[in-house]
């Protein structure tokens, strides 16, 4: 009696397993990458009712972030400015620019402008702006170089893992308080300059900045030195890295 299956058929189960494994790996990989906030959220750049350019306002003109986002230092939310704030200038400047028609409409009718939300944490995560900016975490750490964005988009994933990365190593983000809204600022790489800067920043206190005056530092070394110094000065230690820090 001839064999029903050829010899080659012996390989079929192995092939099936192999294919399934590949498919499985592919599926896992797909979900792994494409379903993450990094893929689904980063780069989110919806069109806004008014094509407001942060590049012009914050970059070229050098407006401080807090001119418009005025409550960022006092409240959990960083507010979107009222139309009134825009009109402070635009009642004089660019009065007839057609792009500003929605603003003039809003001002005339009192109907607010529906700006589209870009940076969003989930409802169950209670993020607070004021505590971050008042303790020396710059806007740039979470929002990127807004001052270079023509149209604002989400640069960081704003996922829990991403939050925790920073909360576990806050020294990577801390900087002097008056540099918080200076998005382009990086710590000086010259040891002497860095020491001088921090000396001016803070009086005598705990924590030492171990840097030689004439040393030349790499940018991330400078940040780490400064960050660790500020961390001990401000008694910042893994701030509330438990669920209740963000989830209530």
């Amino acid at each position: 009696m001839p064999q029903i299956f050829s010899r080659g058929a012996n390989l079929v189960p192995a092939q099936i397993i192999a294919i399934l494994a590949i498919l499985g790996a592919a599926a896992t990989g797909t979900v792994w990458y494409y379903f993450t906030p990094k893929y689904t959220k980063v780069g989110y750049m919806p069109p806004q009712p008014i094509p407001f350019s942060h590049k012009i306002h914050a970059g070229q003109l050098g407006l401080d972030c807090r001119y418009c986002h005025s409550f960022v230092e006092t409240a959990a939310h960083s507010n979107i400015p009222a139309a009134q704030v825009c009109m402070n200038c635009h009642s004089q400047v660019q009065k007839d620019n057609p792009k500003l028609e929605p603003l003039r409409q809003a001002w005339a009718t009192g109907q607010p402008i529906p700006w589209v939300q870009i940076h969003k944490t989930p409802d169950y995560a209670y993020f607070n702006h004021s505590v971050h900016v008042n303790r020396g975490v710059s806007c740039v750490s979470c929002h990127g170089r807004i001052d270079q964005m023509e149209v604002v988009y989400q640069e960081k994933p704003l996922s829990m893992k991403w939050c925790l990365e920073c909360h576990r190593a806050p020294e990577n983000a801390l900087r002097p308080l008056d540099k918080v809204t200076d998005l382009a600022w990086t710590p000086p790489t010259n040891g002497g300059e860095l020491a001088a800067l921090l000396k001016a920043e803070m009086g005598p206190g705990p924590g030492q900045l171990n840097v030689k005056a004439d040393s030349k530092l790499k940018p991330d070394e400078a940040q780490l030195l400064m960050g660790n110094f500020l961390k001990s000065r401000r008694d910042i230690h893994a701030p509330d890295a438990n669920c209740a820090g963000c989830h209530r």
Binding site: A82, I113, R135, N242
Partner: protein, 1135 residues
């Protein structure tokens, strides 16, 4: 490491027995199921009529829906909408606090409203005002929800048809143009403390002298006013000063419950702490009240016999003090039977104590007792020369009574238009007035918060219980009333200070305030109320400036220019004697006592779901009222006891009885309340409403399981039809019998629940395995010598230490166990580099202390917690299943003495047990058993000592609840927050979801609104902790000073507590109040022998009994003592 097995200490058969219910004494299987399981056995099963197939269908449909909604992978576009022009003070996301006041029958209450983006979300006492000092009460907490009640009156109505405000103003203008001297117009209002309303009323009376103005309060103080007028004159009110009272006797006066104000509770509690000279409280009453629960000695007598007690006492006091005024009053008081035996001795010894403490003794008489009895109370106070009563000026204009009004309506027929301002007289007027009939032929303008019984009469009912479109007969006009948070107004506090009432939000449904309406009738113009209030302010303070007005709004109150003068409180024997001569003793036999409800008051809160779901402080009944009777009455009158033998404590709450009075009959279920007077039936008023309200209306309770075949039933039973104008508090029953349900009149008793009415009683819920005596520790306060310094109360606290000594081996094992450091509180997010374990925040370690000596059990904390933490209500049926969600519960125990070791002689006194209350929030154990069993680390410990819940991580295994020795964890069996408003109490498994729009406004934005399948529990108000921490860090800027200032904030339950029984604070801060409490000798932690190290500390309850009294505790309170209190205090503490 072996598993440590802990056996709870066993009852010894001696000493005090703490029990929750007859079921516990009887050890019924139902009670055991409550005690042994984290939820009742049925709670985790789907108890609807949905079979397996039905369930599968639903699940398939859900899965299909889930598939359709894959769009959820892309985020939905959301708009951020800023104001066009900035709003002053408004910072998005930050609450703004406004000082305002809540009008109430007993004077306005100074409050502070927190608003989020223009929505009031929480009310609390005004800390600046000395009457409040930040404390508030149940009514204040719950009145917030009324603002957002979707069932509020939303429209103007003319003859049952929707009308506009303009229609009404046109009609009213014409009416007033023709009014002449006003003889055709009458008003029926509520008691008010508003000076603006009084001023407008006077102006109205000037312009229309013929108009009749009457007021009616179903729980009013007419008798009290009569007694005070006869005793002290018309303009003087005697006010108790608890600070000066060493001995307090209350004659049926619930001054810590239904007759309380936050300031009286606080003043009493301040003297209730054993660290200083404690006051002593004697209570005479017919049913247990929260006041009775606090009593050192309690005499239960029929409410009608309180007069006898008063008279007997007055006789003794008159003799001993030789007071001629009192003597003449007693002589004029008709002779009554006298008590004998133990009761006589009780009264005599108590009288001795009062006389011995002359000048510092205080007698309080219930405001609804007959005026003659209250006069006796005033006379005794005068004879004792007490310094604990002061005179204050009476507020408010004199007005006619509802009886006068009804008479005028019926006989004189001059009145053509009647304005009913608030209240609900058709529902709650005395039955003999036949108020509804008296309204025939009169144009009624109903100004009300709800469209209720007074607004319409139901004339037709469909077979399914609904009312057809033409089934209602409406009054001429219904004008929607504004909530007190929506309108300008003012009020007068009990200390005569003038309180502001400012609008937090525009009227949600275009309602008017009372002063707006009255002003419109006067002037024909609609004012926003501000000018009216400012005019009054001018008169009260003698002028108005911008700064004075701004300060008034900021502080919330101002002292009137004529305040602070001494009011003469001189007892007038003559007029008092005349009044008491007219006293008529009630008929003997079984009495019916109409008691004010601890929760719904006179029915005004009946559509408030927070109130309805709150277990009554005494009976623990939710969503209903019942006829309260004593065990003896149940046995002897209604023969409700099961066969002797093991069933000696077997009573069935919910059995039907029928009550007949001269006015009507009522079929009502009973609740057997230990400590109730025999031959007396107490029924709380304010239930059995016939409105369409979804919470308290005629079809609000949904019974018989779920959405399939559910039966709509009313909420509670209406006792108002039994009341007459004379017997408005106590009335004699013409007959009371056990109801033969076959012959019952109501379908509820005959068809729906013939075997007994299901009451949602929570007294067995959360029953712990431990001995009650270990949970609630008590001692007596004894002072030796005159200096009052030698306190003996430190004895007898450390009960479970006695047990530990007996089980020394186990104790050693426990210690070894502790050394292992397991179960170590842990955080999933321990910092990987620094390796910081939990509980090592050097700046903050949160803890709570609860003083059982001052906690009255009023349960305001439960509702405050509900408001602060977005806790949904679940409905009566779900409460019965044990699914209620209150994060803090109020355990009420009865305490009686076990007097024998063998089981047979273990007869327990169920007639006169004591009562104790124990608030039970999450204990935030440092070694929390719940944390170790969570498979997903949804509940972990924070480094500042809070047992935290991450809702979005919880998968609902409920292992944690299973492992919690305190049973404080709650599970969202259904999407209680997302029920449709039409099916308010149907478990929402398959209906479309949705929360009423107005209710969405009421939520606290800082707390997650939990969904189905999630565990939740007390979080120590972690949102407030975080806010405070953030504020401290923001303040610290680049310094390292991040500690929160001492006691600068507190949690919701501690904030509301006007007795100051709950304190919350930072254990790591030596100066904090909670730290001082923790170091107090009478502080203990629950179930310490389990080694869970709770962060909630209880302070033992200390009583101050008079050892000469016949009911003085012998030794039983000390019975279980053994170890010294020091040992109890020196706990191992936090690491």
């Amino acid at each position: 490491m072996s598993k440590r097995i802990v056996q709870h200490p066993k009852e010894t058969g001696e000493g005090p027995k703490f029990w929750r219910s007859f079921g516990q004494l009887e050890a019924t299987s139902e009670f055991k199921s409550w005690q042994e399981r984290e939820f009742q056995s049925g709670a985790s099963e789907l108890s609807t009529d949905v079979g397996r197939r039905g369930f599968l269908k639903i699940m398939t449909a859900s899965a299909a829906l889930a598939g359709l909604s894959m769009a959820g992978c892309r985020r939905e576009e959301k708009a951020l909408v800023p104001f066009t022009t900035g709003v002053e003070w408004s910072v998005p996301g930050k609450p703004i606090f406004y000082a305002t006041s809540r009008p109430s029958r007993r004077g306005a209450q100074p409050i502070v409203a927190a608003t989020h983006d223009g929505r009031p979300t929480k009310l609390d006492g005004n800390p600046l005002h000395e009457l409040s000092k930040g404390g508030s009460n149940l009514a204040i907490q719950a009145s917030l929800l009324d603002l957002y009640d979707p069932d509020r009156a939303r429209r103007f109505q003319q003859d049952g048809k929707e009308a506009t405000e303009a229609d009404f103003t046109k009609w009213a203008t014409e009416l007033m143009a023709k009014a002449g001297t006003g003889e055709s117009i009458a008003f029926l209002g509520e008691q008010s403390s508003s000076r603006t309303l009084a001023r407008l009323q006077e102006e109205f009376a000037k312009k229309f002298p013929g108009a009749l103005w009457a007021t009616y309060e179903p729980l009013g103080n007419d008798e009290a006013v009569a007694a005070e007028t006869a005793s002290f004159g018309a303009s003087v009110v005697p006010a108790p000063r608890f600070a000066h009272a060493d001995i307090i006797l209350t004659l049926d006066c619930d001054f810590l419950g239904t007759e309380s104000r936050p300031d009286t509770t606080r003043a009493f509690a301040d003297r209730r702490k054993p660290e200083q000279k404690m006051n002593r409280l004697y209570v005479v009453e017919n049913r247990y009240t929260t006041t009775g629960g606090m009593a050192d000695h309690r005499l239960r007598v029929q409410a009608g016999k309180v007069a006898q007690v008063a008279r007997q006492l007055a006789e003794i006091v008159a003799k001993e003090t030789a007071s001629s005024d009192l003597k003449s009053v007693v002589e004029k008081f008709p002779k009554l039977e006298t008590f004998s035996g133990n009761q006589e001795k009780w009264i005599a010894e108590m009288a001795k104590d009062l006389i011995a403490n002359k000048g510092r003794a205080l007698v309080l008489t219930g405001s609804r007792q007959p005026a003659a009895v209250q006069v006796l109370g005033h006379a005794i106070n005068a004879a004792l020369g007490t310094s604990a009563v002061e005179g204050v000026t009476r507020i408010g204009n004199p007005a006619k009574s509802i009886a006068d009004l009804t008479k005028a309506l019926r006989d004189e027929k001059k009145i053509k238009t009647l304005f009913i301002l608030g209240g609900n007289p058709v529902y709650n007027a005395p039955a003999d007035l036949k108020f509804r009939e008296a309204l025939k032929g009169v144009d009624v303008v109903r100004f009300g918060y709800y469209e209720d019984e007074t607004t319409y009469e139901i004339t037709k009912i469909n077979e399914d219980g609904t009312v057809p479109a033409d089934g209602r007969k409406f009054v001429k006009w219904h004008v929607p009333a504004a909530h007190f948070l929506e309108a300008w107004g003012d009020g007068t506090a009990a200390d005569e200070s003038h309180l502001s009432q400012q609008p937090m939000i525009l009227p949600l449904f275009g309602g008017w305030s009372e002063i707006q309406l009255l002003n419109f009738l006067l002037t024909g113009k609609k004012s926003d109320g501000l000018d009216l209030v400012q005019e009054t302010f001018k008169q009260v303070t003698g002028g108005i400036t911008i700064t004075a007005w701004a300060k008034f709004l900021h502080d919330g109150f101002v002292k009137p220019k004529d305040s602070g003068r001494k009011v003469n409180l001189a007892f007038q024997g003559g007029s008092a004697a005349t009044l008491v001569a007219g006293y008529e003793a009630p008929k003997t036999g079984i009495e019916i006592v109409f008691i004010p409800c601890n929760k719904v008051e006179d029915g005004r809160f009946s559509n408030n779901s927070w109130i309805q779901e709150l277990p009554d402080p005494i009976t623990k009944i939710t969503w209903d009222n019942a006829a309260l009777i004593s065990p003896k009455t149940a046995r002897d009158v209604f023969h409700m006891q099961a066969e002797q033998g093991n069933g000696i404590f077997k009573f069935d709450n919910g059995s039907w009885i029928t009550i007949q009075t001269s006015e009507g009959a009522l079929e009502i279920p009973v609740y057997i309340l230990p400590g109730h007077a025999d031959d007396s039936i107490s029924i709380a008023l304010g239930y059995g409403r016939q409105t369409e309200g979804r919470v308290g209306g005629r079809r609000a309770n949904m019974m018989s399981h779920g959405g399939f075949g559910a039966k709509h039933t009313q909420v509670g039973f209406n006792a108002y039809p039994l009341r007459s104008s004379k017997g408005h508090y106590i009335t004699a029953a013409t007959s009371v019998t056990k109801l033969d349900t076959d012959k019952a009149q109501t379908t509820l008793a005959r068809d729906l629940f013939p075997k007994g009415y299901p009451l949602g009683i929570t007294q067995e819920h959360g029953a712990l395995e431990a001995r009650g005596a270990d949970l609630v520790r008590e001692a007596t306060f004894t002072t030796k010598g005159e200096d009052g310094k030698e306190h003996e109360f430190e004895k007898g606290f450390a009960r479970d230490h006695e047990w530990l000594e007996q089980h020394h081996a186990q104790d050693a094992e426990a210690e070894a166990f502790d050394k292992l450091g397991y179960p170590e509180p842990r955080s999933f997010y321990t910092h990987p580099k620094e390796g910081r374990a939990a509980l090592n925040d050097p700046n903050h370690q949160w803890a709570m202390s609860i003083d059982l000596s001052t906690c009255t059990g009023c349960s305001a904390c439960m509702v405050a917690c509900q408001a602060e933490n977005n806790i949904p209500v679940v409905g009566k049926e779900q409460v019965i299943e044990g699914r209620e969600l209150h994060w803090i519960r109020m355990d009420r125990y009865f305490v009686s003495v076990m007097n024998g070791k063998s089981d047979e002689s273990k007869k327990i006194d169920i007639d006169e047990p004591r009562m104790v209350m124990q608030p039970m929030p999450c204990q935030h154990c440092e070694s929390a058993p719940c944390e170790t069993v969570c498979p997903v680390n949804a509940t972990v410990h924070s480094d500042d000592g809070i047992n935290v819940m991450a809702y979005n991580r919880c998968i609902g295994t409920r292992y944690c609840a299973n492992n919690c020795p305190f049973k404080v964890r709650r599970f969202n069996f259904f999407d209680f927050n997302m029920r449709q408003k039409e099916n308010y109490f149907v478990p929402n498994l398959w209906n479309e979801k949705g929360m009423a729009e107005t209710l969405q406004l009421s939520k606290n934005p800082n707390v997650t609104v939990r969904m189905r399948g999630v565990m939740e529990k007390c979080t120590f108000c972690v949102q407030r902790v975080q806010e405070a921490k953030i504020a401290a860090k923001v303040h610290a800027k680049d310094s390292s000073d991040v500690r929160i200032p001492t006691d600068s904030f507190t949690v919701a339950c501690a904030q509301v507590c006007s007795a100051g029984a709950i304190k919350f604070g930072n254990k790591a801060d030596a100066k904090s109040a909670v730290n001082q409490d923790i170091e107090n000798g009478r502080t203990y932690r629950l179930l310490d022998y389990l080694g869970v190290k709770p962060r909630v500390h209880y302070m033992a309850r200390v009583m101050n009994p008079n050892h000469a009294m016949p009911d003085a505790p012998k030794d039983e309170i000390h019975e279980l003592k053994i170890a010294s209190a020091k040992e109890g205090a020196q706990e191992k503490g936090a690491k």
